[in-house]
Symmetry: D3
Subunit: 339 residues, 6 copies
């Protein structure tokens, strides 16, 4: 049971606490990125995972490798080449002040890599799942091609493919994203997305679906999933529903639809320590449940609980273990001290 | 468009996080004070501002100068003289435990300065507004005189005057404050105050005004402003209304009355990172709107949003820019991550 | 008026902020333990207190002594012997993620001490109260014996005895606890406990008592206290009632029953900075009120306010002074800045 | 065997590491002052000590009390009155850049105290030594009078008096210092000083004494001590000799002359972690030796070793214990790891 | 007297203390770059200075602007455009382990700027000196052209030109550097360089000059300066001579040759806190002396002292003031505490 | 080429900078131990390594696993069992103040493990070297047996054995050490030791060997090695020679004797950042050279350079890579900035 995740891992720099960028005399340093976050959380759940990317040969590249190794993700297929490590700066918001992200990822080692640098037949050998997000093909046309190559190799090798649809408007246009992402859908066995992205990128017309309190109703979610399935023939579709009350408080719930069967997680209301990577935890939670043969309901409850708990952990990685997540998925959100 | 603010800037020392004074082995160091906070926020809004004070010639005085320069406030008329930099210690409260301030400002350079040390005709040359708060004349009789001199010079030079009525009982008695502040009102073009201070210091009888949930109603605010205007002939009056739910959560709303026209901001409920300087942000927000010719409604909405956002920024200074404040004033308080 | 508290004080190691153990490159260092926490809070209230334990002769043992001295607790009867200082690691939870405690106290100096190492006639000389919790006799059979010896000496010397029933399942079984704690009750003048522990350890059948929202009703509390009094003849019984909404928010209220008279504190809802030691604050608050001859109502209000405020103070010790606690007990929970 | 030390304890604020004042966003916080440093080191040596001063009643005053209690110095006679805690800012130098101290002690609680606030018959009851330095009488004429009162009471009560001559030109003139210090010498049983201060303040003409490498020779030291003894009839005189190679490296040696017998310590060359309080360690070292009846040679060797080791300890206090100091005094300066 | 310096200012990220990159969980954050360092030090000396560059419009660009403003350098001509802020990572070495720098400056706002973005007639208006280093033209061909434009404008406007020859092999080849730098020499009024760079870049044959202990002798320095002057007609030439004993200890001395008159500074041996920017301090020291009309000897002594002191200040900027530097230049390197 | 190292890895807690234990409010947290340090350094040199131990199943045990994984050491055979993680506290000395270590390792998971818990035929499968130190068999009689088992398995499997003789008097007596270590020597292919330990533990009579400046001369080293070889038939013997000038400065040199051929490293003088683990670096350096087939001279030069550089790296692990060590071994100790 091995998952291979492919994407960019970046140096993340953030002013301590709630300081703003212009106040900082130190930055907290961690490493993260959507697909790396998935690989790390799967490792916390006891599954084998591998993260594939390109990183510069120098010490900063090594730092990113070490962050992955430290938390148990495999790094054996990471290319050590190219000029620089991508960076993202993040300032933690509070109350009505939003968290702010400044990306500095142009020209990174993966951004200048060639599709041909990655030999997917070797990389995916022995894997059971291949995971990517909409961010990876947005990095460059070469990386879009690398994802296509990976998906084709996956199909060849009987490796399942999961995709977090994640659209980032700073990286490419909706038109570019549609042109790349829609064809990829034919390889996808599990799609994770929110309503906005299936509407804009996959062009599923969700306008007439029933809405309640800014989110689709359960019925609306169900229909949305069926519309995606009907058009793209994806066997499993997970929908996320977030509501931002403030930078300090969010609500989250999720749905998993699998071959006609749907289950909805309870809604969690979270005080936020760190907002980043919570969607990746949901993805990893779904992958964990599917790989372990859990029921649709168990799987979506686990994934939503993983997402919820991630909001309480600083950094990109969800460093909660399976037992902790299962406890919340099983209904214990009291936060009583564990002695 | 230049605002000259006059008052004391202090070294602010605070135990990290929620530690109490008796636990601290380090103090976080920033610099701030009511009028300096106004000058800095105006600079963040792209307006020219200048802060006038007296600071010791040594390195700690330089630190205060540097803090102002760093964030764009002018320091060209700061006197470098006198024995010491005023200090305030602040311990950040949480939940039912209040934040605690210990002042150590006696004998500071501005407290021992002479009124004649400040040549207002030079200082106010080219300015459009002069700003002070009720704290400045409370520093010493000489500084009360300096404020009087400044107001007279302002009138001479066609510079408008704004005053944040702020009464501090640790600095002078109500009687002393009345004797100094009431005569100053005749020079004031914009008064910022809360109901308690216009009642106690300006002796406006607000007892019979309608109240709701510990604050004046809209109608009550309106009448209060008109009573102040009627007695002191101040053309613009801004009222602040705060409710402290706990040391961690407050509510705030404001009103601006200008020549008979009144507008009320929405009420904001804030999780508090740093409570200090939020009132100064409201003052600066009003000044920004008036200087930019915004409507009364736009101005008070902006000022209340500035006040609200300040609660999320550590330190005295409101290091939010105009665009961020306008976004909240425009209704977006969701705190969604800005990527 | 001197209280002698007996138990273990440990080195407490915690990752900064909300970091998890696996993320930490630094640990915050404080010292604490249930009975030490009581001694320190009594010292903050201006009462004489003394903490008795065994600590290794090396520098880490000295650190624990110094922590007590720093906050005014007496250390004159601490034994400096044995191999090591007990440790507990604590990771601060947030939202649905619980705080997690890992104990590393086996083999500590007090765990390997002999009952005969403590000469209670000397130690309790001049004391008015002796305080222990259910943790102390759980440390070892020798320490159970030491507590028995202390209780007997207290009775001999006219020293009153208070006991916080606190049962820790990691330290001993329910059966072991019953066998030790029940006989000790005959010496106890003040028992502090929650409903669960009087049911399991003192075998008071509370199943039929009226419950509301997971806690006993006032009537239920009253009956529980009377049942304890009826069986164990303890003249004063304080009951605590906590509800954990999440790791970030808790509710607390308390009852004090004394010789037939009962009083209930208001319920406090707390944002949590540090959950540990809040029950000890309640105990110390009751002891403070009793020693100062306050009414039952004043005493329980003070104790609950002390407990509430402790949640806002980092570390084990409640470093609030009596005036602050009295202010909250008197109804001011607004958290307005104290200038 | 109790030593009572009298003087000012201040809040010490220093930028971390080698940062300059203008760079600091945090200050390290400790508490210290010449006489307090002596009291604390004596407590480390197992002797009873008491520090007497005046401190404000607020939390910062409490912090200073707690610092003393933490390290075992008695605080029972500290007055809690007056407006403020004295402060000194210190920036740690390195290499050719000197450490820089900015005093902010004017108007402190002790600076505005009255001589009559201190009842020396009570304070010195049970003491064997009274210690002060030339800084205490320089604080104010009232404190000069308080020192005189203390010395007279000491003589009355058979308490010996030690004085560290320490002259601070920022506090008073040479003429003022002479007028106060010279009469005090008649009460002094132990004088600690360097050559410059006995020349300028005590007006001992050391110009013709033999010098080597900027310091008096042994013969010169001997003659200087005899001249002091001859003029002021002080039975014991300790001379310190420092050479500053850079802010990072200093050399130190000392002499003790007692009733005609003299001994010289070896010279120590120190890498400097913290330069402050090293002279106070020498004073305390002499006092420790004298109180324990050590030989003149043992005493001066211990005092010089204490001074040397203090340079390696951050903060004002010398937190080395007697065994460590004795080891260096005995010749082991290898710094080999102690496992 | 205004100096305009032109170049790149970067975000500097360094692990705290002596930690290696792979150990860091925080980076210390400052901003610096050769020419910015010169501008800042001139401001510390009380001279007007202006730093010209291009910085992104976002908050990180603002941070760099604020760093300059904080320490008094003018920022009025900085372009706010382009994609990113250049970065350099630096790990502080110790003993035999060298400090290590990783540049991440490709694609920065200045690296992608056009020469025509800078209007030198406006920028240099009112300036007396224009300063650049060999790093600026190495950034890009466009920036090489910008430097040429600036030099031509300087000549037109009667502004003197200083150049720190600084060659960085990671940025361009020796051949490229020669082709750009040699023609620029005809505009240069002051050249600062070491022997290696005048040999390799200016192709001055220094091989036969007399050497002692790896550095040119005084006679050799003199001849080298005369050879440069003879070939490039530069009226003032400053030579730096460094010897690295270890990452912790260096030696430095300098020479200034001006129109036939030469002076040599004493040699300084430094314990190193921060090695970066020390050469820039030498350059700024020469510029300060020349602008203030000091003698050649005074000027070189000041410059060498400035360089020496910089080694004791963390960060890129030399935050020593003129008085401190003059004290060392005058011979006081004792590092005695300044109280 | 895989090395399997066996021993204890501990949590290392140290006050920041040069603070003493009694001053600390934070501890820096790393993980280390003699054999783990060897495994990690070999991984930095690009060799496969594996560390074998027992660690508790809880998060602190996981932290130790993660520290090893982060830096590339294998953890696949670590047992997750037993009660606790061993701890050592270390206070960093400076100048004449020695670093101080307090061990708290009794009762750790490895200390209570059984020899039979380790199946060496599986663990050593595929290994080329097995490494242990004198600390491992000192942990407990069971661990002494485990080492014996490992050595026997190594012989069976053709795995070479290296032993760092390291004797710790706090763990066992000389007699106990002799009884265990001497028989183990017959399995040892590489012995690393200093003169004191071969004399006391291996009972080699070195008293008559020639000494210079407290260390054996080259001739003495040679004879010592030959005496060890003659008695214990160990084919390769590495001798370390350290001289502690102070806690801040040490000297180190080494010798490698291999089958009659000897080579001596140059002597290095180090400023010390962190003294711990430097001997382990020497061991790992020898193992690296031997495994890579380097000459005896190259090997000892590399090992001594590795040891030297370790003194500049905080923590137990030597996080220098092979290229850096080779540069110093090749003679470049200038510490010039690497840009």
């Amino acid at each position: 049971m091995k998952t291979v995740a492919f994407g960019e891992i970046m140096l993340r720099l953030s002013p301590p606490g709630y300081s703003r960028f212009v106040q900082a005399s130190q930055f907290d340093v961690v490493y993260g990125g959507g697909e790396a976050n998935v690989a790390v959380m799967l490792a916390q759940c006891g599954l084998e995972s591998e993260f594939v990317t390109a990183l510069p040969a120098h010490e900063l590249g090594q730092c990113a490798v070490n962050a992955l190794r430290r938390y148990g993700a495999g790094t054996g297929h990471i290319l050590r080449q190219g000029p620089r490590l991508g960076i993202y700066y993040i300032e933690t918001g509070a109350s009505q002040r939003a968290s702010k992200v400044i990306y500095d990822r142009a020209g990174s080692s993966i951004a200048v890599a060639q599709a041909s640098d990655f030999d997917w037949d070797i990389i995916l050998s022995g894997a059971s799942w291949f995971h990517f997000s909409g961010i990876t093909p947005a990095i460059s046309p070469e990386m879009a091609k690398a994802v296509q190559n990976a998906c084709q190799a996956a199909k060849r090798l009987g490796v399942k493919v999961s995709c977090d649809l994640n659209y980032r408007s700073k990286m490419w246009t909706v038109e570019q994203a549609r042109a790349v992402m829609q064809p990829l859908m034919e390889s996808v066995d599990l799609l994770i997305a929110n309503e906005e992205h299936i509407r804009t990128i996959l062009e599923i017309d969700t306008h007439s679906l029933p809405v309640e309190d800014t989110n689709l109703t359960r019925e609306g979610c169900l229909q949305a999933a069926e519309m995606v399935n009907s058009r793209y023939h994806i066997p499993a579709i997970a929908l996320t529903q977030r509501r931002s009350l403030s930078a300090s408080d969010n609500r989250f719930k999720g749905m998993l639809w699998k071959e006609g069967e749907a289950a909805f997680s309870p809604q969690h209301t979270m005080h936020i320590v760190d907002r980043v990577g919570s969607g990746d935890s949901f993805s990893a939670g779904i992958l964990n449940g599917l790989q372990k043969g859990w029921s649709v309901q168990q799987t979506v409850d686990f994934a939503a609980a993983a997402c919820c708990l991630k909001h309480s952990v600083p950094g990109d990685f969800n460093l909660c273990d399976e037992a902790e997540i299962l406890a919340l998925a099983g209904g214990d959100g009291s936060g009583s001290v564990q002695r």
